[in-house]
Symmetry: C2
Subunit: 249 residues, 2 copies
DNA sequence: CGTTATCTTGACGTACATCAAATGTCGTGG
DNA sequence: CCACGACATTTGATGTACGTCAAGATAACG
């Protein structure tokens, strides 16, 4: 339950950055993974002109729930925890945002969640006004956003099933399966996961306590389903039984 | 955990229905509440030509998780439970769809959830092909769908917080507050809620058992926060304390 | 290498689940 | 109108998975 002090970001001025050298959007590594790929290469300059590149240090909060939602942002590197808090400090992490993920879609005038950098995070900010103008000119991007939102909705329903009905063991197994799929979707297959988030993050994502996460890890290890060479890496020793344990429906 | 036998719907042929009398979309009571309002009145005929009006009897399942997702649908009357099942029958209701709600947005080729009529449900079906063509011609409708999806995403995050971190009492109070807001959004204010869903539905929506729902209702009643004149109506006796109990963050 | 944060493990408590039975509700037909 | 059955809901007794509290073990870091 880390309470970050204040937002503290390093902003590279967009105009100066975009004008001086080759279009930054053209060479952006995150573009193929994000909604920006909906814009053709010739129009990328326009995209670059409204994007503000920002870097956030680990542990820093860059979106605060309840603040006026003036900007959207697109993660280009690193991982952020997306979460909501109750008045007494209970925290629910609703997702981990990574390269290509788009934050702040909500129509409401205030953010419905907070976002905090786990490791070093890079992102592009777009003001609501600018983005809306852009969307009007590029319907393909709007369609792409709709697809992204739809997929997130499906993921959210999966997570509701997990939080409402699965046991601690099923929750952790489901989490590991999902992490593994994310690795595989990124090209490199393999049987290992590198966890950027802490046990506390995993606990707050799965709706259990840190002790339960730890004990469940230990039990999966005892059952030879996983191995934990070090704290941050999980080796999947028996994928079939992991899927079983996840109640993959 | 009602397992409905099979889909059984009454379909009114669209062409015949649409041609014979005034454009059904023009007089549709659900239009102002749904994405259909994004289409101007002169173009409604086109909308009507691709919509298939369907009626579903109480208890009948009209969308089955895992089935090929050939159609979208728009609820025009009644209430449906949207849910996911685990292999052993555990159920999580992810939402209650009502007039104006749009189902089946997901990009995937199969439905990610099941939908079952609670009371008599009326809906419009659109084939994926037809709707995509329509969206291409009416970007306003696409924008509207994006807004709807964004709002649902916010609601989903709220529900994750509820399922992951709230106590049974907080869950039920939150549910009642949300139901009350839905009534108020529909124009008529008031201090009473008419529940179309059963206690089992509420339990599966809140991630607890039916016994816990019942006991929690009894306790809220004992605390003079609500009254239950009959099983399906909840009278809010003390709104302030209900909000408190919901941990409205 | 101390210092501090993170993680694991153990002992114990509790909110909610499970099992079981009583009570209430509603439709149906005599 | 009332009796009956089927089902939904409430209530009670008891069990348990997970939470809480507390102490070590490990890893991270200046």
């Amino acid at each position: 339950m880390t309470t970050s002090p204040a937002v503290s970001v390093i902003v590279r001025p967009p105009a100066a950055g975009a004008r001086g050298r080759a279009d930054p959007c053209l060479t952006c590594e995150a573009r193929p993974h994000s909604v920006c790929h909906a814009i053709d290469e010739r129009s990328l300059e326009r995209l670059a002109s409204i994007a503000v590149v920002t870097h956030v240090a680990p542990g820093k909060t860059f979106i605060v729930e309840g603040d006026p939602a003036g900007e959207f942002c697109n993660i280009t590197a690193g991982t952020a925890r997306i979460y909501k808090l109750l008045a007494d400090g209970r925290r629910q992490i609703t997702g981990f945002a990574q390269r290509g993920d788009f934050l702040g879609l909500a129509v409401s005038s205030t953010y419905a969640f907070s976002a905090e950098a786990i490791d070093e995070v890079s992102l592009c900010r777009f003001s609501r006004r600018n983005l809306q103008a852009l969307l009007a000119d590029f319907p393909a991007m709007e369609r792409c956003l709709l697809e992204v939102a739809s997929n997130e909705l499906v993921a959210a329903q999966d997570q509701m099933l997990l939080l409402g009905r699965k046991t601690a063991r099923e929750r952790l197994a489901s989490f590991l399966v999902a992490q593994l799929q994310r690795v595989e979707a990124g090209g490199q297959s393999g049987d290992r996961i590198l966890l950027v988030m802490t046990r506390t993050d995993i606990a707050d994502y799965l709706g259990v306590t840190i002790e339960t996460v730890s004990r469940t890890f230990t039990r999966l290890k005892a059952d030879r389903i996983i191995a934990l060479p070090d704290i941050r890496t999980v080796v999947i020793a028996d994928r079939a039984r992991l899927n079983e344990a996840a109640e993959a429906s």
